[in-house]
């Protein structure tokens, strides 16, 4: 697992060539963070079944409604549901950092974002390895496109994330601890085009600082 320092810099709003002092600070904080904490993840693979109003994770009550899920999973018979978190200890670190040095805290926050993504990548690799000869779609999460945030509590319950990861969902559908991700990855027989990694599917497209600056966050 590797924390992508450039990704953390992007979260800090850095566009173009980063200032060397800031880059060094981010690299230092990234090292401290990765020495202290490892992202934890869990996943489960479900068969997909058509259901009124969306796609059902077979054997469960969970239906994924809307066009995003239909587009992403249209050619898949199965999907992996994954959850990844840096855990409560990251939140503790962030509180401690904010009490000492707010500048360092925002750097830590950005590194945390990149580190939990690295955990998701690792989980995805593990899933891919268990389905040789098959192809994964892009990862997508509640909040992307029209996949509703209200799915969070059901998805976390399916993975028993409170017990396995210490990951909870608040009444306002936020994941808690703060650096946490739930995501779906479709498993298909044929190669999958990139779909999610563009601004068209992103709910932040109206307010995004990168877009305002003519940049994109995705590769």
């Amino acid at each position: 697992m590797k924390l992508d320092v450039n990704e953390a810099l992007r979260y800090l709003g850095v566009r173009g060539e980063p200032d060397p002092e800031l880059s060094a600070q981010v690299a230092r904080t990234a090292e401290e963070l990765t020495n202290l904490l490892t992202p934890r993840y869990t996943y489960q693979v479900f068969d997909l079944a058509p259901a009124p109003g969306g796609i059902r994770l077979a054997g469960t009550e969970t239906v994924l409604p809307g066009t995003t899920a239909a587009r992403m999973l249209g050619s898949c018979r199965q999907a992996a549901l994954l959850a990844c978190t840096l855990g409560a200890r990251f939140d503790q670190m962030l509180l401690a950092a904010q009490a000492r040095d707010m500048a360092r805290a925002v750097v830590l926050d950005a590194c945390g974002g990149a580190w939990v993504e690295a955990g998701c990548d690792e989980a995805e690799h593990e899933i891919a390895a268990r389905f040789p000869g098959q192809y994964l779609t892009d990862r997508f999460s509640p909040g992307y496109g029209d996949l509703p945030l209200s799915l969070q509590s059901g998805l976390c319950a399916l993975l028993d994330t409170p017990r396995r990861l210490g990951l909870y969902v608040t009444e306002s559908d936020m994941l808690h601890p703060v650096k946490s991700v739930t995501a779906l990855v479709g498993i298909a027989d044929a190669p999958q085009p990139a779909r999610v990694r563009g601004c068209g599917a992103c709910t932040l497209r109206e307010t995004c600082a990168y877009r305002k600056g003519g940049q994109r966050c995705a590769r």
Binding site: T42, R89, L95, A96, R100, L149, R163
Partner: protein, 789 residues
């Protein structure tokens, strides 16, 4: 006489309910918490199968039976607990198995990370315990906890609302910590102190993974140890647990050799596993225990063993400190937290916390301060108050094992304080004085120490938790006392073998060159056996004296820490981290570059030749504006903007010091409140804005996160605020933002409102009636200037 059945030989608990239920014929979507109402027979059959397999205790199906998890089911705690316990009784009938009330986690993070308060968690657990007692359970089991604070709330509720035995097990990860970072020894000292009857581990790891943890626990507690592990770690793809019954039982037998005496299974185990364990353990007896008592205090993440000199930081004590007194009266907890983090970062091991000063309600404030400190400081605290009610309020909400400062030899003090120390499992500082005052001789002080010790032992407080303070008197006023104090320290250490505490700084009051006297007295006291000096860890000469002493006493093996401390001082100057460092900077440049120390120094120099207000308006604000413009232009990024703001803070501190010296009115711009709206737990954006606003000189009232609309409106009205800032990160919390704006605008004198956050836009701000949209922290400062001047 309580039936302490678990103290005889090995005790066998049950295995998992959920795993067996997966094989039962349940309709999809059935709520597991409600099975006792919908399918009592299925439950009874499982309990019976466990009892017949050898379980001496079966856990009733009450793991998730709390008001929070039952919300929306239309069923109440009382009813579900009663039915669940009845199903367990039916299953256990005729087998001799006892029935436990099973209490699991509430399913959300407690404060300081989440919004659920300690008191709120306690109330939820209390309801479950009371229902369990009425249902007639034989014992209470608190299990699968990952947050020591939540386990404490549940244990306290069980102890205060039942006379039943209480077992507590936490769920640990590889690496020996829970999800929230709690370590094994911290768990042991905290839960044993609070009166648990047996403690240990369940869930999470398999029995092989538990072995080192059981071993650590065996050395850290005198209580019987529970091990109720999973059948290994599940395969994520299909949820299958890898260990079969025989392998599981064989590994559990290893845990018995390491010290576990109460055994069972968690996820992945069934009655077959318990039967296998029963067979594997036949004829086995508990391993001899090797608990070695030690003087310890802890927070969940840090356990401090006093096996050498440990420093108690003295800074959070308002005696003679005007700014701290003012902060306490105004409830400015951030100021107090700052005192704490500076002491932690300077190397303190424990922090004394005293908030007693005129105009302050200690009973209300001390627990608030404790909560604030434990949000960002990992050191154990010394709760310091003369008011037993304040001590108890703080002991309740403390997360870990604290030390109480203090009790003394007066029978009234012993009677008021020691029961609290015992109940909450703290250590205690005993002052060598009594109702007749402070004795003049070392012998008399030793006699009081003896009295305190025997009273503590009689309460059941172990001797390693009794720390004696022989009391320092000012040498310029009572010269003969310095020697008596040192002699008292020596005899308490040598004759009673207790830890010794001593406030060092009082010795030099009224003398010139106080640091020299303090340092010399400290060194003399350490030589006499002082183990817990109370001092200001920010004073290098004091910390260095301790480092030197540790080298001389052999505590600092190989003098490594001592050498490390001074290696840099004698080495040639390290290359500067930045090519600009070291060159002469103007104040504005120092702020722009975020050099805190440099900016403070330059400000103090400038204040010798200019008025504070002129410095703020003429130099500081323009420099901050410049940083803001650079940020706008994309030449500075957020961390750099914040560094500049923090450098500005050191200028403000210099200004405040100057004003305090001259007695002039403080430079204060207008006040505003900031809050993250209800439902929203992400508050770093709000905190960034707060940092920037404060460093422009505004008084920022931080209402926190997940703040109900009513609270924001009440505070705004009560304080007559002209400006309020609100933040929301997610679309799901925008309605709460709209509601907050609506309530604010309905006030008789509505404040101006600005809103901010990732999903907020200019249009949205306008649509909900906010006056301003702040696209970043810089913008919030412009808005404050427009509204407040």
């Amino acid at each position: 006489m309580r039936d302490e059945f678990w103290r005889e030989g090995l005790t066998l608990l049950d295995g998992a309910l959920g795993t067996v239920l997966q094989h039962a014929d349940l309709p999809p979507g059935a709520r597991p918490e409600l099975l006792a109402l919908t399918h009592p027979q299925i439950l009874s059959d499982i309990h019976r199968a466990y009892a017949q397999a050898g379980s001496q205790v079966v856990y009733a199906n009450t793991f998730g039976c709390n008001a929070k998890k039952l919300a929306g089911t239309g069923r109440g705690v009382e009813e579900v607990v009663a039915a669940s316990v009845a199903a367990a009784r039916t299953g256990a009938a005729g087998t001799g198995a006892r029935v436990a009330l099973d209490i699991g986690p509430l399913g959300e993070l407690l404060e300081p990370l989440g919004s659920l308060t300690f008191e709120g968690a306690y109330a939820l657990f209390r309801e479950v315990v009371e229902a369990g007692v009425r249902a007639g359970v034989d014992l209470v089991v608190i299990e699968t906890m990952t947050d020591l604070y939540e386990a404490k709330a549940a244990l306290l509720a069980a102890k205060e609302h039942s006379d039943l035995p209480v077992f507590v097990t936490l769920s640990f990860e590889e690496g020996g910590r829970t999800f929230t970072g709690c370590g094994v020894t911290a768990m042991a000292r905290t839960l044993e102190g609070l009166g648990a009857d047996a403690i240990g581990f369940n869930c999470s790891l398999g029995p092989d993974g538990l072995a080192p943890l059981v071993e650590e626990l065996a050395g850290a507690t005198s209580l019987p140890i529970i091990a109720k592990p999973n059948a290994g770690l599940p395969d994520p793809l299909d949820g299958h647990y890898p260990m079969g019954p025989e392998e599981f039982a064989a590994t559990l037998a290893v845990l018995v050799d390491r010290g576990a005496a109460i055994l069972g299974g968690c996820c992945g185990t069934t009655p077959d596993y318990i039967a296998a364990v029963q067979a594997a353990l036949a004829g086995k007896t508990p391993a001899p225990r090797r608990y070695r008592p030690a003087s310890r205090v802890c927070t969940p993440t840090r356990c401090l063993t006093v096996d050498g000199v440990r420093v108690i930081g003295e800074r959070i004590n308002p005696t003679g400190k005007k700014r701290l007194q003012q902060a306490l009266r105004e409830g400015d907890l951030d100021y107090i937290l700052d005192l704490a983090v500076r002491q932690e970062d300077a190397g303190a091991d424990i922090l004394d916390v005293n908030v007693g000063c005129p105009g302050v309600d200690e009973v209300e404030l001390l627990p608030k301060v404790v909560k604030k400190l434990q949000s960002a400081v990992s050191l154990p605290l010394q709760l310091d108050s003369a008011d037993p009610a304040a001590l108890e309020a703080a002991l309740r909400v403390y997360n870990g094992k604290p030390v109480v400062n203090s009790v003394n030899g007066d029978p009234a003090s012993l009677a008021a304080v020691l029961p609290l120390v015992k109940k909450y499992g703290a250590a205690v500082v005993g002052l060598c004085l009594d109702e007749k005052g402070l004795p003049q001789t070392a012998e008399e002080r030793l006699a009081i120490a003896r009295r305190i010790l025997s009273a503590a032992l009689a309460q059941g407080i172990p001797r390693e938790d009794v720390w004696i303070d022989c009391l320092t008197m000012t040498v310029s006023a009572q010269q003969s006392q310095a020697v008596e104090t040192l002699q008292a320290v020596r005899t308490v250490r040598e004759e009673l073998g207790l830890q010794t505490v001593l406030g060092v700084s009082n010795i030099s009051f009224g003398l010139p060159q106080r640091p020299l006297v303090n340092q010399t007295f400290l060194t003399a006291a350490l030589a006499c056996g002082l183990t817990l000096p109370i001092l200001d860890p920010n004073r290098a000469e004091m910390m260095d004296a301790i480092r030197a002493f540790r080298a001389l006493s052999g505590e600092d093996e190989g003098c490594g820490a001592y050498v490390e401390r001074f290696a840099q001082a004698s080495a040639p100057a390290a290359p500067a981290p930045d090519p600009g460092a070291g060159e002469a900077l103007t104040l504005a440049q120092a702020i722009l570059k975020g050099r805190r120390g440099e900016a403070g120094r330059l400000a103090r120099e400038a204040l010798e030749r200019m008025e504070p207000l002129a410095l703020v308006e003429g130099e500081l604000i323009p420099a901050l504006d410049r940083a803001g413009e650079e940020y706008e232009a994309g030449r500075l990024y957020l961390p750099q903007l914040l560094s500049a703001a923090q450098a500005a803070q050191s200028v403000f501190e210099a200004v405040a010091d100057q004003l305090e010296r001259t007695g002039a009115a403080p430079v204060k711009k207008g006040a505003l409140a900031v809050a993250t709206v209800r439902g929203d737990i992400h508050d770093i954006g709000k905190n960034i804005a707060k940092t920037v606003l404060e460093n422009y000189g505004y008084q920022v009232l931080d209402l926190g996160r997940d703040v109900p609309p009513e609270t924001v409106a009440e505070e705004a009205a009560r304080r007559g605020l002209k400006l309020v800032g609100l933040s929301a990160l997610m679309t799901t919390t925008l309605p709460a933002m709209a509601e907050t704006v609506r309530l604010l605008k309905a006030l008789p004198q509505p404040p101006a409102v600005f809103v901010a956050g990732a999903v907020v836009t200019e249009d949205y701000a306008r649509s909900i009636g906010a006056d301003y949209y702040a696209k970043d922290a810089k913008a919030s400062a412009q808005i404050a200037r427009e509204v407040l001047g």
